[in-house]
Amino acid sequence: MQLGYSDDQRELFDAFEQFFVGESPISVVRAAEPLGFDPSLWAKLNAMEIWGSHVSLQQLCVIGETVGRSIAPVPFAEHAVAARLLQREDVDTGSVIAGLSLRETDVGGDWTLVPNGAIADIVVGIDGGSLVSVESSAPGRSPRNHASAPLADRNVAEGTRTVLGPRTDGDRAVAEWKAITASMLVGVASRALELAIDYATERHQFGVPIGSFQAIQHSLADLPGSIDGARLLVSKAAAALDAEVTGSTADVNLNEIDDPIVLASMAILFAGDVAAMATDRSLHVHGGYGFAEEYDIQLYYRRARGWALVLGDPAAEAVSLADRLWPSDIAGGH
């Protein structure tokens, strides 16, 4: 048992924290809005050689937290997951950007609001009951959106379609995306808390730092436990996804769960809630400056919601988690 980062994980975290602090300061994030993609940062990240199956989900989730902390404008989760499926050199080097659709195609053959659909050269997703990839030219623009994310619809008929595997491979890919995105949301939450602490320590009212008021203290004191809990849940999901033998235990009466699909769903729901709460509390601590564009917390606030909501209504995700925990053959029993 090891419920903190191992030495290797700590080293990985520190290396990528340093990378993003150096290469993706907030000025880079702001300059990349509204598309939410910086090609030059992307090239530098590709040089770190993190795409492909030589990097584990657990490692990707450690890196993901640093992506979230810097809200770096790169399609981290989508490319990482798609690269593991495609196993193509040009994807592993990042010269071809890969995307992941979180939804099946609709009746018109559209994958709607693909998280990095605006910039992906090849998109992976479920179509016609199979997991397929479609190579086509990226639109390069996105509808203006809450998180300044490179969202776009992509149509399967508009490019070269290749079948990669059964639908279950797609479910697994989405579970991997949930774990990595959840790790990024943990990073968003932890950085939002730091911004709040910094501001509450510097900002004086009534002659004292506002962080000495219990109203401020108590709104922030809820956060570190929830953030730590989210990180533990994300790590457990990633470890379950990495395990060769896939566990299938999800016994809520014993509270013993090693089913990777269940854990990934739990991770995205919980980390999404924690990131939403942390950014809300932090924004509030900033008072009026919290909603001023000049301050950074609003950038985090919008991504906390956008990165999670692109998956769909969290209530629907919770219901599909319930379907796995309490399958319908039990539902309505007795």
């Binding site: 419920l3 903190g4 203290q217 004191a221 436990g225 809520v252 509270n255 729901l269 309490w326 029993g333």
Partner: protein, 381 residues
């Protein structure tokens, strides 16, 4: 990170689980709710006979905090009472650390055989969160100490063999420096126990100490070293020894209700059940993390505060959701005809608020975390 239990720890868990399943009987539950005394002596003795209590006492047996966590987590998940045994085990650990040979010889066998409970005399009628301002006095009189004062929330005092009592021995010293801990038999003349009934059915007590005379051999730890002794106890307890997974039996009862009532098909119900399952798992991971820190030689004080804060608030949120979901039937108490989940949902709705206060209020934990973990400036007191 690595979430796997060792084979030994998993075997220990399975053994605890089997013993709990055998002795956490409907009759024991009925007795607890009838008397308000939330202890299960048969279960304690059965765990003791298998050597499981000795193994879990800090500083004794394997002394593995992971096992300590497993023991109380298994008891708690089954819905069996945790606190009485947890306090006894925790104090046995303190005695093992700082007690005299005589205290060790008396207390430890009594606790690890499952025969004796110990209650905690810290809070007072006028002293709660600001514990260092306590006023119960212990004064020297020759070879003896004379104790006068009153303690509040001394749960199990009416059945415990000993009380661990924090007293003021030197009013001239700084507040938390003039305190001394005693470990006193409850049958010592001058001790009175009055019941305090709570909205959660459980009975606790107020205890009164009127010229209670004890020998110096009842002192636990150094004279004026009582704060240190208490800190040792807290370091064993925080976030490891139960109280953080009460949502597990609640969820189990509520799923049964949802299945038997047909509400399991209701999308809104399913969403809430799933969200509580998530919170339960996070609470377990945070608790496990505290145990792992303790097992690695650290003191998980702040992590324990965070765990307690998260778990108790999540439990209260869950019990509120579930009571509302159950509608009017969520108001009906244990075994009343038509009661949702045979009344367990209503019971948890009374029990949950207690858990956000017991063992350190939400507010005190937040103060702690804000100043000591987040490093925010000290608040005006």
């Amino acid at each position: 990170m690595d979430f796997e239990l060792t084979a030994d720890a998993a075997a220990y868990r399975d053994l605890v689980r089997a013993i709990v399943a055998e002795h956490h009987t409907p009759a024991a539950v009925e007795r607890q709710h009838r008397t308000g005394t939330f202890d299960n002596p048969e279960l304690n003795r059965a765990l003791a006979e298998a050597g499981l209590i000795e193994r879990a006492v800090p500083g004794l047996g394997t002394g593995d905090p992971i096992e300590l966590w497993i023991l109380f987590n298994e008891i708690e998940k089954a819905g069996a009472p945790v606190d009485a045994l947890a306090v006894a085990v925790m104090i046995a650990g303190v005695v093992q650390r700082v007690g005299s040979d005589k205290q060790k010889a008396e207390v430890i066998p009594a606790v690890i055989s499952g025969e004796a409970l110990i209650c905690m005399g810290y809070s007072e009628p006028d002293v709660g969160s600001d514990l260092a301002s306590l006023t119960t006095k212990a004064e020297r009189d020759g070879d003896e100490w004379v104790i006068n004062g009153a303690k509040m929330w001394t749960t199990m005092a009416h059945v415990a063999r000993w009380v661990i009592l924090l007293t003021r021995t030197d009013p001239t010293l700084a507040r938390h420096k003039g305190l001394t801990m005693f470990l006193i038999p409850m049958d010592t003349p001058g001790i009175r126990v009055d019941p305090v009934h709570t909205m959660a059915t459980e009975r606790t007590n107020a205890t009164f100490y009127d010229d209670v005379r004890v020998g110096d051999d009842c002192r636990l730890g150094e004279v004026n070293g009582g704060w240190t002794v208490m800190s040792i106890a807290l370091s064993f307890e925080r976030g490891v020894m139960g109280g953080t997974n009460q949502g597990v039996p609640l969820l189990g009862h509520t799923v049964e209700w949802a299945q038997s009532s047909g509400r399991i098909d209701d999308r809104a119900v399913r969403e809430k059940l799933a969200r509580v399952a998530i919170d339960n798992h996070v609470a377990a991971l945070l608790t496990q993390r505290s145990a792992w820190i303790a097992a690695s030689g650290g003191l998980p004080g702040l992590e324990g505060s965070m765990t307690k804060l998260f778990a108790s608030q999540a439990y209260q949120k869950a019990s509120g959701w579930f009571q509302q979901m159950a509608g009017a039937q969520g108001l009906l108490q244990l075994h009343e005809p038509g009661a949702a989940a045979d009344g367990w949902i209503e019971y948890d709705a009374r029990h949950a608020p207690v858990m956000t206060i017991y063992g350190g209020t939400t507010e005190i934990n937040k103060n702690n975390i804000a100043e000591r973990h987040l490093g925010l400036p000290r608040a005006r007191r």
